[in-house]
């Protein structure tokens, strides 16, 4: 079914290696330069209108992947197609135009808003960059989007500064600013991680509602599998710069194939005192992406690791309709 639908984003073998700073001694001894392999060969596609959840622990490369797609970072290798167009080869100017259609929502609404800019102005800022509207029209468009995201009364809040707003309102401002240019694709990087419990649900519902209204496609980056359930159509699980499992949300949640996915699902805290965990939690933590383990990157922590897992790296293979897993089992 998916083949007939339009692929909005196609990512092929995307890599980002950050060079490590070399010390004096390393230079002297001509040691080889090290790299942090933040993203190490990631491929996926996002169909128009769907929400793909990119899930993993800190340091797995999920945020870097999001930034690479928007070219907020330049990839070391790989390809990103936007509606079939290779945006990685675009000039700076062309890319700026593209950004009207590709927007981003960051995690921290405190850090991503200028404290000296009234929120009406902050929301209108992308429009000034991308178009030249006259003042009245600019204001109208801002007020309209503010109402859509629930920043009401809009004309009253228009002049307020970020410190005069609550955390939830601030996150709405960030969302409004991302949507004011009428984008098609939004990268939402942990949009609710900073918010309070009662605000989280509100922002999440708002994002679902806006998606329908504006016909949006999201890449939803999160560490929290439980929130994925309420917004994502498909999920991709990342571990140390690689996707280990990807598929329709229900399928992955009900039948996780990769041992890491199963562990991650089991570790999610369940708000029910009667619930008892059945899956064991492995010891140890995510290793350094500077020298990732050879073979399957999860093998040192995997309960069902075999000898071949430490030598060969498993490919991402289809195990069911649209369900891909990188594991030898």
């Amino acid at each position: 079914m998916r083949e007939h639908m339009e692929e909005l984003i196609t990512v092929t073998d995307l890599k980002k290696h950050f060079p490590l700073q070399k010390g004096f001694l390393d230079n002297l001894l001509a040691r080889e330069k090290g790299f942090v392999r933040a993203v190490d060969g990631v491929s996926f596609s996002i169909i128009k209108g769907e929400v793909l959840g990119l899930v993993g622990e800190s340091g797995c490369g999920k945020t870097t992947t999001g930034r690479l797609i928007l070219r907020l970072l330049e990839p070391s290798a790989g390809e990103v197609l936007y509606k079939g167009k290779p945006i990685l080869s675009y000039s700076k100017k062309d890319m700026e135009k593209m950004r009207e259609k590709m927007q981003v929502i960051f995690q921290d609404p405190y850090a991503s808003l200028s404290p000296r800019m009234a929120i009406g102005k902050a929301i209108g800022h992308p429009l000034i960059i991308h178009n030249n509207y006259d003042k009245a029209e600019l204001r109208q468009r801002c007020l309209r989007i503010m109402e859509k995201v629930g920043l009401t009364p809009a004309s009253f809040l228009y002049r307020k500064y970020p410190h005069q707003l609550s955390g939830g309102q601030r996150q709405r401002v960030v969302i409004a600013r991302a949507l004011v240019t009428n984008p098609e694709f939004v990268v939402a990087d942990e949009p609710i991680a900073m918010a309070d419990v009662s605000v989280r649900a509100m922002i999440l519902e708002l994002m679902v509602q806006l998606k329908e209204e504006f016909d949006l496609t999201y890449l939803f980056i999160t560490h929290d599998l439980a929130t994925c359930k309420y917004i994502c159509d498909r999920v991709a699980i990342m571990y140390l710069g690689k996707i280990v499992e990807m598929g329709p949300l229900e399928e992955v949640f009900k039948n996780p194939v990769h041992p890491y996915t199963a562990t991650l699902l089991a570790a999610v805290p369940v708000p029910d005192p009667k619930y008892r965990r059945t899956h064991p939690i492995p010891k140890g933590e995510i290793p350094s992406p500077i020298n990732p383990p050879p073979g399957c990157r999860f093998h040192p922590r995997c309960a069902s690791a075999k000898s071949m897992c430490s030598i060969h790296e498993p490919d991402l293979l289809e195990v069911g309709p649209g369900h891909m897993v990188a594991c030898f089992q």
């Binding site: 622990e57 800190s58 609550s166 955390g167 939830g168 309102q169 309070d196 419990v197 009662s198 605000v199 989280r200 649900a201 509100m202 999440l204 519902e205 560490h223 929290d224 599998l225 439980a226 929130t227 359930k229 309420y230 949640f253 562990t263 991650l264 699902l265 089991a266 570790a267 999610v268 805290p269 369940v270 708000p271 029910d272 005192p273 009667k274 619930y275 965990r277 939690i281 492995p282 010891k283 933590e285 995510i286």
Partner: protein
């Protein structure tokens, strides 16, 4: 049995330039020996302030302006600085949210353990202190060799375990854990909560677990206190709080958290946002957001209703 900790009508205020933040307002709470009490609420509800005031570690201008905190019957509020020093760490320990900033980056782990030990137990043999630190690491599931490491050589989860070890090395009977897992990843968080559950039995601890994450308390707490706007909304056994929450705030909070094991298609949302504690709403602080608010809620502070050890502060039940 006498409660290990009894808080009576505690009020903590922060005088600031635009008025007074009523961070904790007439809060009463009892803690029994060996129980884990989950102290739950959103940011600014006063849960951390309450935790800090038990050790009298409030940051200025925060001040206890009324009430008593009885620890084994002795009032902490009235204690001299000297008395409180003998309690801190030795009898009541506290662990904080961020293990990276709570450990000194310039000292090895063994040195940090020994500093704690020598401060409280004068004349302790150095070798004995080292061995005790080593044994503590073992019960935390860390190899004692790691004592010679510096904090930056350890992972986040290990550092948080070291923090709890430093808290427990003097054998306290009360542990206050303020958002201990907030900076940890899910898997490490699960490991840490399991460890806390082990240690609780091993060291016969009474724990106050301060958190905004209802999933965490569900697995660990015996009883739960829900705070809102500097006041207590509800106190009850953990399973009752989750199965039959009485206070409308608790009900709203529970309906708005994602549960991976449930088939709820949509999350409920609570309108509005938490109150400004400089000018809290009159009557019940929750009434502007409450779907059941009545006339009385707007001008009278709700009285306590008790049903078999389950306390609720709401006019619905009077």
């Amino acid at each position: 049995m006498e409660p290990i900790l009894k808080i009576e009508d505690l009020s903590v205020h922060y005088p600031i330039n635009i008025g007074t933040v009523r961070a904790v307002e007439e809060v009463s709470l009892e803690l029994h020996q060996g129980e884990v009490m989950g102290l739950v609420g959103e940011s600014g509800c006063g849960k951390s302030t309450l935790g800090f005031s038990i050790l009298r570690l409030l940051r200025p201008p925060g001040k206890i302006v009324g009430g008593r905190i009885l620890y084994h019957g002795r009032d902490i509020v009235q204690m001299s600085e000297r008395e409180i020093l003998s309690l801190r760490g030795r009898k009541i320990a506290m662990i904080f949210q961020d293990p990276l900033t709570s450990l000194n980056p310039l000292f090895r782990i063994d040195q940090q353990f020994m500093e704690t030990l020598f401060t409280h137990e004068k004349g302790l043999d150095k070798k004995e202190a080292f061995n005790r630190a080593g044994r503590m690491l073992e019960s935390l599931g860390i190899s004692p060799e790691r004592l010679l490491d510096y904090p930056h050589q350890m992972s986040g989860g290990m550092r948080q375990r070291i923090m709890i070890g430093m808290g427990l090395i003097l054998n306290p009977d009360l542990l206050i854990a303020d958002e201990p897992t907030t900076s940890l990843d899910v898997i490490v968080e699960a490991q840490f909560l399991d460890l806390l559950n082990d240690l609780r039995r091993q060291f016969d601890l009474t724990i106050i677990l301060i958190t905004h994450n209802l999933g965490n308390v569900a697995q660990l707490a015996d009883r739960i206190t829900v705070m809102y706007g500097g006041t207590i909304a509800e106190i009850g056994p953990a399973n009752e709080i989750f199965d039959e929450p009485l206070h409308p705030y608790t009900q709203g909070l529970l309906a708005s958290i994602p549960n991976i094991k449930l088939d709820q298609p949509k999350l409920e949302t609570m309108p509005g946002s938490p109150p400004d504690l400089v000018t809290p709403p009159p009557g019940c602080v929750f009434h502007p957001r409450c779907p059941h608010a009545k006339k009385i809620c707007k001008h009278e502070i709700p009285e306590m209703t008790e049903r078999d050890g389950h306390l609720v502060f709401c006019w619905l039940y009077r």
